[in-house]
C-alpha cells in the first residue's frame, strides 16, 4: 500500500521488538466472535491513474460544461489561481488546529487577519474563526441571542434561505425555542407589519437575510428598530458575501451570521463552505466557535493564540456555548486569500459587475416574463415568473447546456411558476441573451399549452 512507509521486514522487526508473533496478537483485546475474518466488500485497491479516471468520469456526469444561472446560497465566482497554490502548501493543508501556538503562528496570524477583514466588511467589532456554514452559523447566532437575552422565541423571515430555516427548526426543536415566521410583501422584503405581530416580549431574536433569498436587499434599519423596540436582538444572515462590496452592511444588526463561500470557495455541490459569526465586542463571551487573539511572548514579541477557550466544549463540556469543535480553517484561508486579492477596491468593482450583469439580465427577462419584487433594490439575484412551469422550461434549456434559475414552487408554493435566477461576474451577456431568448420562445408558445385542456374537454 503506497501510503504506508514500512517494508515487510520492518513489520517483522517491530513485532519481534514487541515480543509478538503476529500482528493479530495486537487485536487480542477484541473478543474473537466479533472480529472480521474476511475482506471488506468495498472496491479493490486502485492505482492513482484509475482513481483520477473514476472521478473524471463522475465529473462528466455532473453538469461539466454547463452555464448555470443558479445561486440560492451557492455562488459561482471566479477563484484566483493563487488561492489553491497557497492553500496547497502542506504547512496549511496538513496542520492541526493551532493549539500549540509556537509552531502554529502561520495559521493563527492568517485567522487574525481573516477576523479583521470580516469585521471591516460587516461593520462588526469581532468575528470568529469560522463555523460549518451559513445555515448552522445562523442557528448558532440565534442560540447566542437566546443566551444573551434570556428569552426563548425567535421570529424568522420567510425570505431567509428555506434550508437555513429548516436547519434552524432542527436546532430549535429540542432547545425549547418556539419559532414564528414573518412573510414578505410585494417588494420581496420582510412584511414589517407581520414581523411586528410575530414578536412578543419573549422574542430573543429576529432573524432575517439580506440580500434575502430572492436577492432583495432588506430595509435592515426598519427591521432593527422593530426588533430593538421589543427588546429582541437582530440577527442578519448574509449568504452572498460578494454583496458586501457594494451593499451597505447591516450595521444595525447585533449578530451577523455569514456564509463566505462566495469569497473563493468552490461551489462544490454544497460544501465544504465557510460560515462566520460576527458581533459586538460586548457579546463576545457568548459567541460560539474559535477565536484568535493577539498577545506577546516572554520577550514581548507580538504573537497570536487561540483565546477565550472557556466558552468551548473541551473546557466547559455540557456548559459550553456550543458543541462545535472543528472550524473550517482551510476554507477560511481560501476566503482570507480571496479578500486579500480583491481588497478595498477590487471587492467593490467585483460587486459592481455582479450588479450590472444582474440589472441587465433582469431588464431583458422583464421584456418576456414577469420579474417579481421590482419595488426594492436587489444584488445579484432576481425572481422571474413564467406562464409555463419553470421546471419544464429548464428541461429544454439543458439542451443548450444552460441550467436555468431555481424553481421556487418547492419552497414557496404561493409563488407558483417563479424561479430564482442569479448572475455573477462570470455570467456572459451571450449566456443571458440565449437564456432570455429561450424563455421568450417558451412564453410565446405558452398560451397554446394553456388552451390544450379546453380542447380536450371539447
Amino acid at each position: 500500500m503506497r501510503y504506508l512507509p514500512k517494508s515487510p521486514a520492518d513489520r517483522e522487526a517491530m513485532l519481534k521488538a514487541l515480543g509478538l508473533s503476529s500482528v493479530d496478537d495486537l487485536f487480542a483485546p477484541i473478543p474473537a466472535e466479533y472480529r472480521l475474518n474476511r475482506d471488506l466488500k468495498i472496491p479493490r485497491q486502485m492505482a492513482e491513474s484509475e482513481i483520477v479516471d473514476y472521478f473524471r468520469q463522475r465529473s462528466r456526469e455532473n453538469a461539466e460544461g454547463y452555464t448555470s444561472f443558479l445561486g440560492a446560497g451557492a455562488y459561482l465566482h471566479y477563484r484566483p489561481v493563487i488561492i489553491d497554490s497557497l492553500i496547497s502548501r502542506g504547512e496549511f493543508l496538513t496542520a492541526y488546529t493551532p493549539y500549540q501556538a509556537e509552531i502554529s503562528q502561520g495559521t493563527l496570524q492568517s485567522i487574525f487577519e481573516f477576523q479583521t477583514m470580516i469585521c471591516e466588511l460587516t461593520g462588526m467589532e469581532v468575528a470568529n474563526a469560522s463555523m460549518y456554514d451559513g445555515s448552522t452559523a445562523a442557528a448558532e447566532a440565534v442560540m447566542m441571542a437566546v443566551r444573551l437575552t434570556g428569552r426563548r422565541s425567535v421570529a424568522v423571515a420567510r425570505s431567509l434561505h428555506p434550508e437555513y430555516r429548516e436547519v434552524l427548526a432542527t436546532y430549535a426543536t429540542h432547545q425549547g425555542m418556539p419559532l414564528s415566521t414573518a412573510g414578505f410583501g410585494a417588494d420581496g422584503r420582510v412584511n414589517l407589519a407581520e414581523l411586528e405581530k410575530s414578536i412578543t416580549h419573549e422574542t430573543a431574536a429576529v432573524l432575517i437575510q439580506s440580500p434575502n433569498f430572492f436577492g432583495t436587499i432588506e430595509d435592515v434599519a426598519a427591521i432593527a428598530e422593530i426588533a430593538h423596540k421589543n427588546g429582541a436582538m437582530l440577527v442578519v444572515s448574509i449568504a452572498e458575501a460578494v454583496s458586501l462590496g457594494i451593499v451597505e452592511p447591516p450595521r444595525e444588526a447585533d449578530v451577523i451570521a455569514m456564509e463566505a463561500q462566495s469569497f473563493g470557495v468552490p461551489v462544490g455541490f454544497g460544501g465544504p463552505y465557510c460560515g462566520v459569526i460576527a458581533t459586538r465586542e460586548k457579546f463576545v463571551r457568548q459567541m460560539p466557535g474559535r477565536l484568535v487573539g493577539q498577545t506577546v511572548d516572554k520577550q514581548g514579541k507580538r504573537g497570536f493564540v487561540l483565546t477565550l477557550a472557556t466558552r468551548e466544549q473541551h473546557i466547559r463540556r455540557e456548559k459550553a456555548t456550543s458543541n462545535i469543535c472543528t472550524n473550517q480553517a482551510l476554507v477560511a484561508l481560501m476566503v482570507n486569500i480571496f479578500m486579500t486579492v480583491y481588497g478595498k477596491v477590487g471587492l467593490k468593482e467585483l460587486a459592481k459587475q455582479n450588479l450590472a450583469k444582474t440589472a441587465y439580465a433582469a431588464g431583458q427577462f422583464a421584456k418576456h416574463g414577469n420579474v417579481l419584487f421590482g419595488g426594492a433594490p436587489r444584488f445579484n439575484e432576481f425572481v422571474v415568473e413564467t406562464t409555463e412551469d419553470p421546471a419544464a422550461i429548464h428541461g429544454r434549456l439543458l439542451g443548450d447546456k444552460i441550467v436555468g434559475g431555481l424553481p421556487l414552487k418547492k419552497f414557496y408554493p404561493e409563488l407558483g411558476n417563479a424561479a430564482l435566477w442569479c448572475c455573477t461576474e462570470l455570467t456572459t451577456r451571450n449566456a443571458i441573451d440565449t437564456a432570455v431568448g429561450l424563455i421568450a420562445e417558451s412564453e410565446r408558445s405558452a398560451p397554446s399549452t394553456k388552451e390544450e385542456p379546453a380542447e380536450v374537454t371539447r
Partner: protein, 496 residues
C-alpha cells in the same frame, strides 16, 4: 545540550507583518474583464443601501500575497514535515490525489441545486461512499450531512431522541464515560439531554457493574468512544450493549477512534446502534489547520426513518435522486448535502487502499502505537497497563517530581522537531500525555521520537529549567495566554 536534537536544525525564516501593514492605495492583485453589459448607476439602483467605503481592507499586489502566505506557512508545523503525534486527532498522511480529484471541473463546480438528471456523478459519489462506510462500520444506513464529528454527534442524538419519542417518550438522559471527548456532553446539552457521568474502572474501561446500576428507562443512550480515549478497546462491549438494550437504551459509538478498527472489526457487529465517523481522522481528509471536517452518522435499521433529509435513493428509471418525503426525519442539520468535497477525498482514499490496504493501515496504526508504548515504558509513567490499540496515554507523574508537567515536555518536543502529543486529555489521567503516531510513520521517524522523549526525560532530571523554558527554537516563545483572554485583541486596527 543541542547535539541531542537529531531530527531538526534551526534555519532562518522570514519575518512578516500583518497584511494590513503592507497595504497602500493603488496596489492591486486583481483584474476584471471588461464589462459586456451596460454600466449601471449604483446609487440609482441601490439608493441608501449603497456602500461607499470598504474601510481598512488591504490593497496589495499578487507577489506580496504569495510571499505573505508562504512566509506564514513556514511558521507552521505540519504532517508533511514530520510525525504529528496528537492523540485522538489521527494526524495521518493526506494523499494528494484526493486534492486533485476534488478539483476536477464538474466536481468542484457542481451546483447543489442543479437538476438531478445532470447530477448523477455527484449522486454516484454520495452513494458509493455511503455503501463503503456502511460496509466498513457494519451498519445498515448512513447520513453524510453532518459537517463535523460534533455535528454528527448532534445528528445522532437527534435520531436517538426521535426514536424514543416514536416509542412513546424521548427519555431524559445520556450516559457519558468520564474519559469522553468534551463534545459528547456539550452535544447532549444541545439536544436537551441531561448528562450523567459514568466512571471508568481500574482497567480504564467502562465499569460494567456501575453501568448496570445506573441504567434505567430514563437513559436514552450511552455515548461510548471505542477504543476509548485511553486507546483501550472496551472488551465488555457486548455486555455494555446488552445492558443498554435490555432497558430499551441505544448504544452510540463516538467513532473518533475508528482508525483502530477498520477492516478488523465492525461496530455494527458488536452491538452499536449508531455511530459517527470523522472523515478527517480515519479517512485522510486534511485537517487544514482546524477544518473542514465531516461527520457521517451510520445507523442500524431501527433508526432509518429518522435520518436527516434528503437521502439518496435509486429511482425506478435507474437514476439516482434525493428523497425529501421523510415524515419521521429529524430534519436538516445543514444546508445542501454536507461537506461534499470531503466525501470525494474520503472515497479516493478508500479506493487507493481497497480492503487489503485499509486492513494493513489499521494494523500498522496499532503496531506503531504499541512500538512507541514499548519504547517509552519505564521512562514515562503508564497509568493503565491494559493493552492499547492505536494510541497510548502516559502521564507526567515521574517528571512532576521535578515540577515539570506534561505541557512543558510537550513544548520541549517542539525543539526536537516534533509536534507535541495531546496534553491533559483524557481528563481521568492527571498530567496526561496522549500519543497517536498513526500508520503514516516509519520506524526511523518513531525511533527519533522515542529518542527525543527519552532525552527530554533525562533533561528533566539534569536540567529541568531547559524543559520549563521550552521551546527555545521557535519564532515566538511561550505566549501570554492570560493576557490574551483578559483584554482580548481580536482584530487589527490602524494606529490612531
Amino acid at each position: 545540550m543541542k547535539d541531542r536534537i537529531r531530527k531538526a536544525t534551526r534555519h532562518v525564516n522570514q519575518n512578516e507583518g500583518l497584511i494590513f501593514e503592507k497595504s497602500s492605495a493603488g496596489k492591486a492583485a486583481w483584474k476584471l474583464p471588461p464589462l459586456d453589459v451596460p454600466e449601471v448607476d449604483t446609487s440609482r439602483l441601490l439608493g441608501a443601501a449603497e456602500r461607499k467605503d470598504l474601510g481598512n481592507m488591504p490593497e496589495v499586489s499578487e507577489i506580496e500575497i504569495i510571499r505573505h502566505f508562504t512566509r506564514l506557512s513556514t511558521w507552521n508545523y505540519a504532517i508533511d514535515l514530520g510525525m504529528y503525534p496528537l492523540g485522538s486527532c489521527t494526524m495521518k498522511y493526506n494523499p494528494r490525489v484526493n486534492e486533485a480529484v476534488a478539483r476536477v471541473e464538474g466536481i468542484a463546480n457542481g451546483h447543489p441545486y442543479q437538476p438531478e438528471k445532470i447530477s448523477q456523478g455527484a449522486l454516484q459519489i454520495l452513494k458509493t461512499l455511503s455503501e463503503c462506510l456502511i460496509e466498513i462500520t457494519g451498519m445498515d444506513a448512513i447520513t453524510l450531512q453532518p459537517a463535523a464529528g460534533a455535528h454528527g454527534e448532534m445528528t445522532g442524538l437527534l435520531m436517538v431522541r426521535a426514536y424514543h419519542h416514536a416509542k412513546g417518550k424521548p427519555r431524559k438522559k445520556v450516559l457519558i464515560p468520564d474519559s469522553a471527548h468534551g463534545t459528547n456532553p456539550a452535544t447532549a446539552a444541545m439536544v436537551d439531554y441531561a448528562v450523567e457521568n459514568l466512571k471508568s474502572d481500574s482497567r480504564g474501561m467502562v465499569d460494567v457493574a456501575a453501568l448496570a446500576a445506573q441504567m434505567n428507562e430514563e437513559v436514552a443512550a450511552l455515548m461510548l468512544t471505542n477504543p476509548n480515549t485511553l486507546g483501550i478497546f472496551e472488551q465488555d462491549i457486548h455486555k455494555i450493549a446488552d445492558i443498554l438494550h435490555a432497558k430499551g437504551g441505544l448504544l452510540y459509538m463516538d467513532g473518533a477512534n475508528m482508525n483502530a478498527l477498520v477492516g478488523k472489526v465492525r461496530p455494527g457487529d458488536f452491538g452499536v446502534d449508531l455511530m459517527h465517523l470523522n472523515l478527517h481522522k480515519t479517512f485522510s481528509t486534511p485537517h487544514g489547520g482546524g477544518g473542514p471536517g465531516s461527520g457521517p452518522v451510520a445507523i442500524k435499521k431501527i433508526l432509518e426513518p429518522f435520518l436527516p433529509k434528503p437521502v439518496v435513493v435509486s429511482k425506478p428509471d435507474g437514476t439516482l435522486g434525493f428523497e425529501y418525503n421523510r415524515p419521521q426525519s429529524v430534519g436538516r442539520v445543514r444546508a445542501f448535502y454536507g461537506n461534499f468535497g470531503m466525501f470525494v477525498r474520503a472515497l479516493a482514499y478508500i479506493q487507493a487502499n481497497g480492503p487489503d490496504g485499509l486492513r494493513q493501515t489499521t494494523e500498522d496504526a496499532v503496531l506503531n502505537a504499541n512500538y512507541i508504548r514499548k519504547g517509552l515504558e519505564g521512562t514515562y509513567e503508564l497509568p493503565y497497563s491494559t493493552p492499547t490499540m492505536h494510541e497510548v496515554v502516559f502521564s507526567d507523574k515521574l517528571q512532576a517530581k521535578k515540577a515539570v508537567r506534561t505541557m512543558d515536555i510537550a513544548k520541549r518536543l517542539i525543539d526536537y522537531g516534533f509536534h507535541p502529543y495531546t496534553t491533559a486529555f483524557p481528563l481521568i489521567v492527571p498530567g496526561a500525555m496522549m500519543i497517536e503516531p498513526t500508520e503514516s510513520e516509519s520506524v526511523e521517524e518513531m525511533d527519533l521520537f522515542v529518542d527525543a522523549m527519552k532525552s527530554i526525560a533525562e533533561e528533566v532530571e539534569e536540567n529541568p529549567q531547559t524543559v520549563l523554558d521550552a521551546p527555545h527554537s521557535t519564532r515566538v516563545s511561550r505566549l501570554d495566554e492570560t493576557a490574551a483572554a483578559r483584554k482580548p485583541v481580536l482584530r487589527w486596527k490602524p494606529r490612531e
